[in-house]
C-alpha cells in the first residue's frame, strides 16, 4: 500500500515529518547564512558586510564577531560602520594571539553575528580547535550567523581541489554545514576579473607562501575552482527544489523508493577516497549511505595505526552525513551481506582489491567474489582506488589522537619475545629430533615437528608458530638430519606435502586461538556490562548508583570516574562534582567549564575529542530523552592500553548509568511527593483537632469576659480596662484559630467550592463587616467599574480573601490613610485590587509572601498568623484565578490584586416578569 501511495506522487509521510522536525529545530537554532566563493578575493567578506549593514538598517542587532579586512579600504570602511566584538587575547608561548571571543558572543547574544573565514583553525587555548565548531555552538545557542567560506575548504571538495591545484588544503569544514545552512549565497566574479584584482594587489595572499599562492591563482585553476563552486551551489539549489517538491506534492514529478548505499572500508589510508566517492554517489542519488567496517580476529591484531585509520574514515563519513557501524565477525563478506540485508541496502560499494589480490578477485575466497556470487538483489559497485599516496603530516597528526585509544588488544598478546620463544622452540625440536632420530624414524620426527608447531600456535600465536616451523625446518637440515632423506622427486614432493600439512594445521590452530581470544574480549566486555547492570540495579538512590558505578568502573576498567550533576533542578546552575576531589582551583575551574560545556552541548569533551582536548579527563554527557542528566568524567585513562572500540564501549557504559540514574531520580521524586502528602495529611488532621479544641475554651473566656463587662458597675475603671484587654486578646486569638482552621480545610482538599453568582459589592459589605473592629481608623475609597459583571465564585471564600487583604491593608497602613479598593473587568477576567499605604513588599519576595507562615516585618504588636495570604492564594487558585502583589510606583504601599476568570453571566431578573 505504502509503495503504491508513494508512486502516486504523494510524499513519504516520514520524510515530511522529518522535515517538520527539522523546521522546528531550526526555529530554536540560529539561522545560518553562508557566503560561498570559488577562491580568495572574490568578495565574500565584502558581500557579508553589506548584508550586515542591510540587516542593521532593518533594525537587526548586528555584531561583527571577527572580520579580516586585510587593509582593503572598501571592506574596512564597511566593517567600521558596524559594531564589533573585541577579540580575546590568548597567551601562547612567547606571543599573544588574537582570537574570536566565543563566550563574549554567547553572552552578548546579538541578533546576527558576522563570522569571517569559517575554515579558520583557532589559536591554541581556545575552546574549540576549529572556528566551525564555534559556529555550531552559536547556532545551538539560537544566535544567527553569517559566515564566509571558499570551496577548497569543504571536506568533500578538498581532495578534488588538491588534484586540480596540487596544493594540499589543511583546513576543512564539514559539508553538512553547507547542507543545513538556511541560505547559501554564491559570490562569483569572472576569472578575468579575479586575475585583474590579483594584479592590482586587491587579493590578500597571506604573509607567507606568496609564491605558492600565486601558483594557486593560475587561470586554469581558477576556472576549475569556479566550476566546482558553481556545481556545488547548483547541487544545493537542487536540494532546495527537492525539499520544495516534498512540501508541495503537486510539484513532485516522480516518487520511487529511496536508495541506500553501503560501503565497507578497511584500515587502508586510501579508503578515505572510497568514503568520499560513496558520498558523491549518495548525494547524486539523494540516497542514504552507510559506512561499515568489519573487525575480524586478524583485524584486531593490526597495527594501531590501521585502527586509527578506520576510526578516521568512520569519523570522516559521519562528518559527511553517513551512518557508521563497526561489526565483528570472521567472514567479512557474510557480515557485510547480513548487515546490508538488515538495513535494506540497495547498493554495496567496494574498493578495488590491491596488490596481488587485484588479480585474484575471482578467487572464491576473495571478498569481491564472495559478494558477487552470493548476492543478487543488490548492486555491487567496485570502485577503483588510486595508488598509495604518502600520508601527509596533517593526517598523521589527526591520527595521533586516536592512536592510543585504538591500540589493539590482540597485538598486545604477541610480544617480541614470543617470536624468540618460537625460534627457540624450533631449535629445541630439531635438537630433540637429532637425539631421538634413531628411535623415531621419519614419521616420528614429522609428528614431533607437528606437535611443536601446533604447540607454538597455541602458546604464542600464528606468526611465532611460523617462526618455529621455519627454524625447525632450517635447523633440521643444518643439523644434518636431512641426510637420510630420500632425494627422488616423489619423495621430495612427499616431504613438501608434509611441510604444508604442518603449516596448515598450525595456522588452523592459531586461527581458532584468535577466535577464542576474540570471544574472550567480547565475553569480558559483556560480563563487565552485565556486572555493571547488576550493580546499578541493586544500588539504592542516586548516590548509591553514583558510588556503585565509580567503584565498578575502577575495579573492572581501572579508570577513575567522577560525576558532574546539576546542583539544582534548574539546568542553568553550576554543576556539582561527585565525589568531591582535591584539585587545584584553576584545574577545578577548567574541569567545571568542560563539564558545563559537555552538559549543555550534549557532546563529548576533553581528551581525545576536539573540544578542550588538553584536559586530563574525558567528559561524556548522560542523556535521557534529549535531556542531560549530568556528565561523567573519566580520568586516569591509560590510552595506550585501551582496547579497540573503547570509546563506543564507554558510551554504552555511560548510557547504562544514565538510565539507572534517571529511574532513581524519578522514584526519588515519587517518594518525596508521597512523603509530602502524608505529612500534609497529618498536619491538617492535627491542625483541625487543635484548632477545634482551642475554640471551645476561647468561647468560654470570651463569654465570661463579656458577661463580666455587662455587669461591670461594681468594678473599678482599672478592672474594666483589664477586662477589655481580656476580650480583645481573646478575639485576636480567635481570629488566629479561625485562620488556621481555614487553612487546614483548604489544604486538606476537604473544601469544595460552591460557586454562586454574586455582585462584588455584596461580598465587600461582608468583608468590611468582618474587619470593622480593626479598620476603624482607615477611610475606604472604592472604585468599582460601572457594570462590573457578576462574579461566579464561592461567596464565603472570596469574602475571606477580601477580608484578609483589607485587614492586611489596615494593619500595615498608618492610621488615617485611605485603603483603596479597585475593581474592573476585561474580556477574560475580573480583577480586584486592594491598595494600601504601608511599606510595600520587599522586592524579590513577591511570591514568597504567599507562602504559609510568611510575614513581612510586621509593625510591633500587629503580627498576624502569617496564614492570611496563603489562604488567599489557595482560595484564588481553587477558582482558577491568580493573585499577585506589586509595590506602588510613586508612593509607599503595596497593591494586592486577584483576578477571577470571567464567565458567561446568568439571567438577571427583570421587573416586567
Amino acid at each position: 500500500m505504502d509503495d503504491h501511495d508513494r508512486s502516486d506522487g504523494r510524499p513519504d509521510p516520514d520524510a515530511l515529518l522529518a522535515q517538520v522536525q527539522q523546521e522546528e529545530s531550526k526555529q530554536q537554532r540560529g539561522r545560518l547564512k553562508i557566503f560561498f566563493g570559488a577562491a580568495p578575493g572574490v568578495g565574500k567578506t565584502y558581500a557579508m558586510l553589506r548584508f550586515g549593514q542591510q540587516e542593521m538598517a532593518k533594525g537587526a542587532d548586528v555584531l561583527i564577531g571577527i572580520v579580516e579586512t586585510h587593509q582593503r579600504h572598501e571592506t574596512k570602511a564597511l566593517a567600521d560602520a558596524l559594531p564589533m566584538l573585541p577579540r580575546q587575547h590568548l597567551p601562547y608561548k612567547n606571543v599573544v594571539l588574537e582570537e574570536f571571543d566565543l563566550d563574549a558572543a554567547l553572552s552578548r547574544r546579538p541578533g546576527l553575528l558576522l563570522l569571517d573565514e569559517l575554515a579558520h583553525s583557532n589559536a591554541p587555548g581556545s575552546r574549540h580547535k576549529k572556528r566551525w565548531q564555534d559556529l555550531e555552538e552559536l547556532l545551538d545557542a539560537g544566535i544567527s550567523v553569517a559566515t564566509t567560506i571558499n570551496v577548497q575548504h569543504l571536506e568533500s571538495a578538498h581532495e578534488v581541489v588538491q588534484q586540480i591545484t596540487g596544493i594540499k588544503v589543511q583546513e576543512t569544514v564539514p559539508d553538512h554545514l553547507i547542507q543545513e545552512a538556511d541560505e547559501v549565497v554564491l559570490v562569483d566574479i569572472s576569472d578575468e576579473d579575479l586575475m585583474q584584482r590579483l594584479k592590482e594587489g586587491k587579493v590578500y595572499l597571506g604573509d607567507r607562501g606568496l609564491r605558492a599562492m600565486s601558483h594557486f591563482f593560475r587561470k586554469g585553476n581558477l576556472i576549475a575552482l569556479r566550476q566546482l563552486a558553481l556545481r556545488l551551489a547548483a547541487d544545493r539549489v537542487d536540494l532546495e527544489l527537492r525539499q520544495f517538491q516534498l512540501q508541495n506534492p503537486e510539484e513532485e514529478r516522480r516518487g520511487g523508493s529511496r536508495d541506500r548505499l553501503l560501503v565497507a572500508i578497511s584500515g587502508r589510508p586510501e579508503d578515505e577516497h572510497l568514503v568520499r566517492a560513496t558520498y558523491h554517489l549518495a548525494t547524486a542519488q539523494r540516497a542514504d549511505w552507510l559506512v561499515i567496517h568489519v573487525d575480524t580476529p586478524r583485524g584486531l591484531m593490526q597495527k594501531a595505526e590501521t585502527q586509527a585509520w578506520i576510526w578516521n574514515h568512520l569519523h570522516l563519513a559521519e562528518s559527511l552525513g553517513a551512518e557508521t557501524a563497526r561489526l565483528t565477525g570472521v567472514n567479512i563478506g557474510a557480515e557485510i551481506l547480513a548487515y546490508a540485508r538488515l538495513r535494506d541496502v540497495t547498493q554495496i560499494v567496494l574498493g578495488q582489491a590491491q596488490g596481488l589480490r587485484k588479480f585474484l578477485w575471482w578467487w572464491p575466497g576473495s571478498l569481491t567474489a564472495h559478494l558477487l556470487n552470493s548476492e543478487r538483489s543488490m548492486d555491487i559497485i567496485i570502485h577503483p582506488i588510486p595508488a598509495k599516496k604518502p600520508i601527509s603530516e596533517d593526517q598523521r597528526l589527526r591520527n595521533q589522537q586516536y592512536l592510543g585509544v585504538m591500540n589493539s588488544p590482540l597485538r598486545r598478546h604477541i610480544r617480541n619475545r614470543h617470536f624468540i620463544f618460537g625460534a627457540l622452540l624450533g631449535l629445541g625440536l630439531s635438537g630433540l629430533a637429532w637425539m631421538l632420530a634413531a628411535y623415531l624414524g621419519f614419521a616420528g620426527i614429522f609428528m614431533l615437528y607437528m606437535l611443536g608447531a601446533v604447540g607454538a600456535a597455541l602458546l604464542y600465536g600464528r606468526w611465532p608458530s611460523l617462526i618455529t616451523f621455519i627454524t625447525a625446518a632450517v635447523s633440521y637440515y643444518s643439523f644434518g638430519l636431512g641426510k637420510g632423506l630420500p632425494t627422488t622427486l616423489g619423495s621430495l614432493a612427499y616431504f613438501a606435502l608434509i611441510l604444508s600439512l604442518i603449516l596448515l594445521i598450525s595456522q588452523l590452530v592459531a586461527r581458532s586461538r584468535e577466535q577464542e581470544l576474540m570471544a574472550r574480549i567480547r565475553e569480558r566486555r559483556a560480563r563487565n556490562l552485565y556486572q555493571l547492570v547488576q550493580v546499578l540495579s541493586s544500588a539504592r538512590g542516586v548516590e548509591g548508583i553514583l558510588n556503585a558505578s565509580i567503584e565498578k568502573l575502577e575495579q573492572t576498567l581501572g579508570i577513575s570516574v567522577a560525576f558532574w550533576l546539576p546542583a539544582t533542578e534548574k539546568s542553568e546552575g553550576p554543576l556539582k562534582q561527585f565525589p568531591e576531589l582535591d584539585q587545584t582551583d584553576s584545574l577545578q575551574r577548567k574541569l567545571q567549564a568542560a563539564a558545563r560545556w559537555c552538559f549543555q552541548n550534549r557532546k563529548n569533551a576533553g581528551m581525545s575529542t576536539n573540544t578542550l582536548a588538553d584536559l586530563p579527563a574525558l567528559f561524556m554527557p548522560m542523556i535521557i530523552n534529549e535531556r542531560s542528566l549530568g556528565v561523567v568524567m573519566l580520568a586516569d585513562l591509560d590510552l595506550r592500553r585501551a582496547p579497540t572500540d573503547w570509546l563506543r564501549f564507554l558510551e554504552t557504559v555511560v548510557r547504562l548509568i544514565a538510565v539507572a540514574l534517571d529511574s532513581a531520580q524519578a522514584s526519588l521524586q515519587r517518594t518525596e511527593a508521597d512523603v509530602r502528602l502524608r505529612v500534609e495529611q497529618l498536619q491538617n488532621a492535627l491542625l483541625g483537632a487543635v484548632s477545634h479544641d482551642l475554640r471551645t475554651p476561647l468561647a468560654g473566656v470570651l463569654g465570661t469576659a463579656t458577661t463580666l463587662q455587662r455587669n461591670a458597675q461594681g468594678l473599678s475603671s482599672e478592672d474594666r480596662l483589664l477586662l477589655e484587654n481580656i476580650r480583645q486578646q481573646t478575639e485576636k486569638m480567635e481570629h488566629t484559630v479561625e485562620r488556621i482552621l481555614h487553612m487546614a480545610a483548604l489544604q486538606s482538599g476537604r473544601l469544595q467550592i460552591q460557586k454562586e453568582w454574586t455582585p462584588l459589592e455584596d461580598l465587600l459589605v461582608s468583608a468590611r463587616d468582618q474587619v470593622k473592629s480593626l479598620c476603624t481608623e482607615h477611610p475606604f475609597q472604592t472604585r468599582i467599574a460601572r457594570n462590573l459583571p457578576l462574579l461566579h465564585v464561592d461567596p464565603q471564600l472570596i469574602v475571606q480573601v477580601l477580608t484578609n487583604l483589607v485587614e492586611n491593608a489596615c494593619r500595615y497602613s498608618p492610621p488615617g490613610r485611605d485603603i483603596e479598593l479597585e475593581a474592573y473587568a476585561d474580556e477574560k477576567e475580573i480583577v480586584v485590587c486592594v491598595i494600601d499605604h504601608g511599606f510595600g513588599v520587599p522586592s524579590g519576595r513577591e511570591q514568597e509572601i504567599f507562602g504559609r507562615f510568611s510575614q513581612v516585618k510586621p509593625p510591633v504588636g500587629l503580627g498576624g498568623s502569617g496564614l492570611g495570604l496563603a489562604i488567599c492564594k489557595a482560595i484564588i487558585e481553587l477558582h482558577n484565578g491568580r493573585i499577585w502583589v506589586r509595590n506602588r510606583v510613586a508612593v509607599h504601599g503595596a497593591v494586592f490584586c486577584f483576578a477571577i476568570p470571567r464567565e458567561a453571566e446568568p439571567l438577571i431578573p427583570s421587573e416586567e416578569e
Binding site: A699, T704, R710, D762, D769, K772, P795, E911
Partner: protein, 244 residues
C-alpha cells in the same frame, strides 16, 4: 404563643462544656427577665424539656443548643422537635463548627438562628431579643403598618419609602424585598425564604437575584452602600433589616 409568659422567659441550655455553661448561667441570672435551665446531655435535655412541658403546660420559649454533645449531635434534637406537632420553641444553635454547611444544615432543619463560638454575651442577647419579640416568618400582618428605622421610613399603605424625608423611588420588586425584611425586622431571612416569597418557588436556587436586589436597595437607601446601616448581611445565610 411562646412568649406570652410575662414574668420570665424560660430558656433551656444544652451545652456540655462547663466553662461556657457557667458564664451563660451567670449572665442569664443577672439579666432580668430570663431564666436558664442548663442540661449537659441530649438525654437530660429531653427529660427536662418534657418535664417542663408537663409541669408548665407549655414548652420552653427558647432552646440554646450546642451541636457536639457527648451522647449525640444536636441536629437530631432540632429534627425531632420540628417534627413534633403543637407548640414549638425557638431554637438558637451555639456551636464551635463555623462552617457554612453546618449553619445551613441546622437552619434548614428548623433552627431559628446560629451563633458560632466564640461569641460575646452582648451579641447573644441581641439575637435573643430579636427572636423573642418577632413573629415567625411568613405570617403577614393583617393590617399594613409603618416602620421608622433611623432616618428611614417605610409606609406600607402607600408603598412609600422615605429617607430623611425625601421620597426614594423603588421598583415594585425592590419594595417587596424591603417590605419582607421590614415585617421580619431583626430576623435573618435566608436566600431561600426571600426567593420563594418574592420570586416564587421555582426561583429558589437563583441566589444572585437576591444579591443584586440587595445591592440596588443599598445604593438607594444607604449612606455608604458598602458599610450598610440598615440592610445587613448575615454571612453565608441571608439578610436582615436592622433592629433597634
Amino acid at each position: 404563643m411562646p412568649n406570652n409568659h410575662k414574668e420570665n422567659i424560660d430558656i433551656l441550655l444544652v451545652e456540655d462544656d462547663p466553662g461556657i455553661g457557667a458564664f451563660l448561667q451567670s449572665a442569664m441570672d443577672r439579666e432580668p427577665g430570663y431564666c436558664l435551665h442548663w442540661e449537659r446531655t441530649l438525654r437530660d435535655a429531653w427529660k427536662a424539656y418534657e418535664k417542663y412541658q408537663l409541669q408548665q403546660g407549655h414548652c420552653f420559649a427558647l432552646l440554646l443548643l450546642d451541636l457536639g454533645l457527648p451522647d449525640g449531635d444536636g441536629q437530631s434534637m432540632i429534627r425531632r422537635l420540628r417534627t413534633q406537632s403543637g407548640e414549638q420553641p425557638l431554637i438558637v444553635v451555639i456551636s464551635a463548627r463555623g462552617h457554612e454547611m453546618d449553619k445551613v444544615q441546622a437552619l434548614d432543619e428548623g433552627a431559628d438562628d446560629y451563633l458560632t463560638k466564640p461569641f460575646t454575651i452582648g451579641e447573644l442577647f441581641a439575637r435573643l431579643r430579636a427572636h423573642l419579640r418577632k413573629k415567625p416568618v411568613g405570617v403577614l400582618e393583617d393590617n399594613p403598618r409603618c416602620w421608622v428605622i433611623g432616618e428611614l421610613e417605610i409606609d406600607d399603605p402607600t408603598h412609600c419609602v422615605r429617607k430623611k424625608g425625601k421620597v426614594i423611588d423603588l421598583t415594585p420588586k425592590e419594595y417587596e424585598l424591603l417590605h419582607l425584611l421590614a415585617i421580619n425586622q431583626g430576623r435573618v431571612l435566608s436566600y431561600r425564604v426571600i426567593l420563594t416569597s418574592i420570586w416564587g418557588i421555582h426561583s429558589m436556587e437563583q441566589k444572585h437575584y437576591v444579591r443584586l436586589y440587595i445591592k440596588r436597595l443599598r445604593e438607594k437607601i444607604e449612606d455608604d452602600p458598602e458599610a450598610p446601616q440598615y440592610l445587613l448581611t448575615e454571612k453565608g445565610f441571608g439578610y436582615r433589616l436592622v433592629d433597634q
